[in-house]
Point group: C2
Chain length 560, copies 2
């Protein structure tokens, strides 16, 4: 019995033993846990095994770029056929490794800058695509069937025990480390510097195996800075409609905003237009949102109770430090972001998701994919979906649910009525280069056909969308009784696009009488009032002023 | 400008300042961070303020019971009107504080043992109910509008810096601490002992303000131990049908099980019945599941690749330590559970949720609520819902989605077809005391009326349920074309209940021809074969044997 159990003991510790061997192989390169940047390639070659699942931390913003370069510097004869499982494909190295034969398979969530190159490599068969996930979905799979064998992560500093300080861009790090470190994986962190004591412990040292002192500070993308100077009167008009026709009517207090100019305009109208409507403390008090600079005037005006963040934003650090009542911060004073929790908050604790898209079809399906780019959707499909698992009521959610029930002819027992998440698309009828936002067929379908994808890359499906806001008006899809009404409601706000011009005018008129379509004048909004003077800040400099000089915009946004 | 910014600085640090004052008030009671159990009441009276939002850690299993007693010992003249925000209402003290006037408002997720008393106190107006959430939903709100001011948590040990070791029942602790510590809250941990160095750091010390050395080890509930000796042949028959008619047909690899005997029977049939069907490594490989003792035979037989756990289970510690290839464990060797991540995994990374319920109505709505108990649903509504935000395909999910599309007459563009989560109810037609499982009207509706709840306490709504398994057969609700077919499909497996006897026999026959209803014989299952000899373990002792003596069942399960 003892012998067989001893045998068993070996049998059930193969992963653990392999982990110990990897660490032993790398140990000669390390001083304790610390490895110098020049040995990073050797470290990865010692730790990695062919076929490993690897998370090379590519977050929405923070990039483990030193380790990305090191991975790309590995000998493909030693390190090959890796299965990359990471939320962001952002740096060139993230794709170089596929061309080099180091990596083979990819499961990811988002790729802004590399979307076109991913598409070309998928066409060319250089990447075996697992799937394009939402962030939260990929995190979920980290714990089930996509658990990393090795995680290559990034932080600001570490001590010699491996205690890690991420600074404000905590983002995905705790999630990646938890999945890896507790399932026999190896965690390697790059840090900008080794210190005696970290300002706060974002990751306990006993979850970190090696620390690489990087040659340069890790790269962070500023992604959420929208210059008010570039905001148009059309965007301001749409923002006014959203505030008066949706935020006020449903009494939305808990919400998430996308990153476009339309929602940034809403943020800038809170202390002006919305204040005049008497909405202060009645709407937009609790947020799942990155620290958007355009939210500063609303914060300074006392509109905002609390903001939980997915990540941070370049230039916002000092401001956040001085606003601990609003933001989640650590004992070091800087932001503590957390993408997994913020995405969960966006899914289950917010009553509204509002964002933009590139294309919307006649059923309300939308996508940011074009025929030549596979960008991924990040968090939008998660936060922009109606969570059937929600069980707590709110006024907003119940009102939307009541409208949805009316649509179904009031069928079913009213006592069994649920609420509905508000999912709003705020788009101009024509986008960049005058390409129409409203289309008969999404480019995503063509891409799915070309790449033979099982699932078309749809960002938000039509049945989850409740409202579409354009410069022509608001379409309330909740109130549409059937697919025809829905199509005409969409056509009815699609302006001069082909889809808009193809409307049935009589039916659109009836929809307007039923308040399914509402024009600015139906909302008591005079389009000529949509003036830039309504913006609480009209420039980045104004935002700096609002912040009492605490907001420090990146150089490219400084033009004074 | 400097003066105004100074003013501003104060203005934006009210929470932070209040936090510092609370800690300063308690400091005289502490030696560093350590407070003795006899001073726990004084500690709470020093830290708490009337109206505070407080999380008194009541998890599914682990209880901060020493701190619960201390809170209940506070002077209601000093500590009153608290708003309790915690997932579990388990201990008597969790409700005593409402009777004492210490607490007033409650937002929670689950209460098994206290469900009847909560109901009485709600009727009596002693508790102001916020809402009954799922776990993940309540966690989400911790980051938006239910952020705790004070968290009272439990761990196995702590060092003098406050670094906390939770042991295998990590459960909710990281989530509760993250929401509290990073938003100016105060975190107080009770631990079984103070040590020089913790075996692993589950919570970094800089997030913990005070550590109380408890007078007794914290209470843990064994909740997931199902004695195979109590398993009936009816449950075995249902388990056989589920395996052959659902698991095999959809090729389910990633899954979550409820805690009833039906799913425990499935676990025990994997190495026997399912093995004979040739399903090894084809089904049930990756799990979001607590460490169910009934999973031991499947693990030992090589069926299970990986299990991520919400919490732990009493008696499973040594077994888990010796199976690190299967379970998530820490450097100390013991389980690392995490309810937030496991719930997320159950939502987004699993293709199947299967569980039991007390009542199912004619539309497939189900509830475990009775007219006199408000138990809450824990995680079931979350994991038992179709996540619209999912964007990664799997064979299982796409097949279910294909069936759902057929239901809708194949309407819409096939390229825009999505998958579906399988949500299965496995129930006997009559439950305890021969009360019928199938009813015309859920008791939940009566409770909602009596308590004037905005939302009836439905566990899983009918539109999320895909299959119902009873001893009479499987009803596939995905394939039903309308509400009538759905009702008859449900009646068709409802046996001799009134609902079952009210069936339209001709229609049920047609549904059977269309394979919407399948009897055991339609699946090639002979009910007489459903014998206890099929169970891989027929007693707790068998489970111990399977585990090579590593599983150490609690005394109440030891009868040899």
């Amino acid at each position: 019995m003892a012998a067989s159990r001893q045998l068993g003991r070996q049998h059930w510790r193969q992963e653990r033993t392999a982990r110990d061997e990897r660490i032993a192989a790398a140990r000669p390169l390390a001083d304790g846990k610390v490895v110098s940047a020049k040995d990073a390639v050797a470290l990865l070659e010692a730790v990695l095994r062919p076929g490993d699942r690897v998370c090379l931390e590519g977050d929405n913003q923070k990039q483990a770029d030193c380790l990305a370069r090191a991975l790309s510097g590995c000998d493909p004869a030693r390190v090959h056929d890796l299965h990359m499982v990471q939320s962001g494909i952002v740096l060139p190295e993230h794709l170089d490794i596929f061309e080099q034969g180091i990596a083979k398979r990819l499961d990811y969530s988002y790729s802004g800058p590399q979307g076109a190159r991913i598409a070309r490599m998928l066409f060319g068969g250089q990447i075996a695509l697992g799937a394009v996930h939402t962030y939260l979905e990929l995190f979920a799979r980290y714990f089930i069937d996509l658990t990393p064998n090795v995680a290559l992560i990034a932080g600001v500093s570490a001590d010699r025990e491996g205690n890690l300080y991420t600074g404000p861009n905590t983002e995905d790090t705790p999630t990646v480390v938890e999945a890896t470190a507790f399932k026999n994986g190896v965690v390697i962190a790059q840090v900008n510097r080794i210190v005696d004591k970290v300002p706060r412990v974002d990751i306990p040292g006993d979850r970190v195996d090696f620390v690489v002192e990087a040659d340069t500070p890790f790269y962070v993308e500023p992604l959420f800075t929208r210059d008010p100077a570039a905001m148009t009167e059309t965007q301001i008009l749409m923002a006014m409609m959203a505030i008066k026709g949706i935020y006020a009517e449903y009494g939305i207090t808990r919400l998430n905003h996308g990153i476009g100019f339309g929602t940034a305009a809403i943020e800038l109208l809170l202390p002006t237009y919305a204040e005049k409507l008497g909405l202060k403390q009645k709407i937009a008090t609790h947020w799942a949102l990155n620290p958007h600079p355009t939210l500063i005037p609303a914060i300074e005006s006392g509109w905002v109770s609390q903001v939980h963040c997915f990540g941070s934003e370049v230039g916002m650090d000092r401001y956040i430090r001085e606003r601990p009542d609003v933001f989640f911060t650590g004992i070091d004073g800087s932001l503590r972001s957390n993408r997994a929790f913020c995405q969960t908050a966006g899914l289950y604790a917010c009553d509204l998701f509002i964002g933009a898209t590139l294309q919307i079809d006649l059923a309300g399906h939308s996508s940011t994919v074009t025929a030549s780019r596979v960008a991924g959707f990040g968090g939008a499909p998660n936060m922009g979906s109606d969570p059937h698992g929600r069980r707590h009521p709110s006024q907003t959610w119940m009102k939307a649910g009541h409208e949805a029930a009316q649509r179904e002819g009031g069928a079913g027992n009213p006592a069994l009525r649920r609420g509905r998440k508000l999912v709003v698309q705020i788009v101009e009828t024509f986008g960049d280069k005058l390409s129409p936002t409203f289309v008969e067929k999404l480019d995503a379908l063509e891409l799915a056909r070309k790449l033979d994808l099982e699932l078309a890359p749809v960002m938000i499906y039509g049945d989850d969308v409740t409202h579409i806001v354009t410069e022509e008006g608001i379409a309330n899809l909740l109130l549409c009784r059937d697919a025809d009404e829905r199509e005409q409601a969409i056509r009815g706000v699609a302006g001069y696009t082909d889809v808009g011009r193809g409307r049935d005018r009589a039916m659109v008129q009836r929809l307007r009488e039923r308040k399914i379509i509402r024009r600015p004048e139906d909302l008591g909004i005079e389009p000529l009032d949509a003036d830039r003077s309504l913006l609480a800040a009209r420039s980045i400099k104004d935002l700096v002023h609002w912040s009492s000089g605490l907001y420090e915009p990146p150089p490219r946004f400084r033009n004074w």
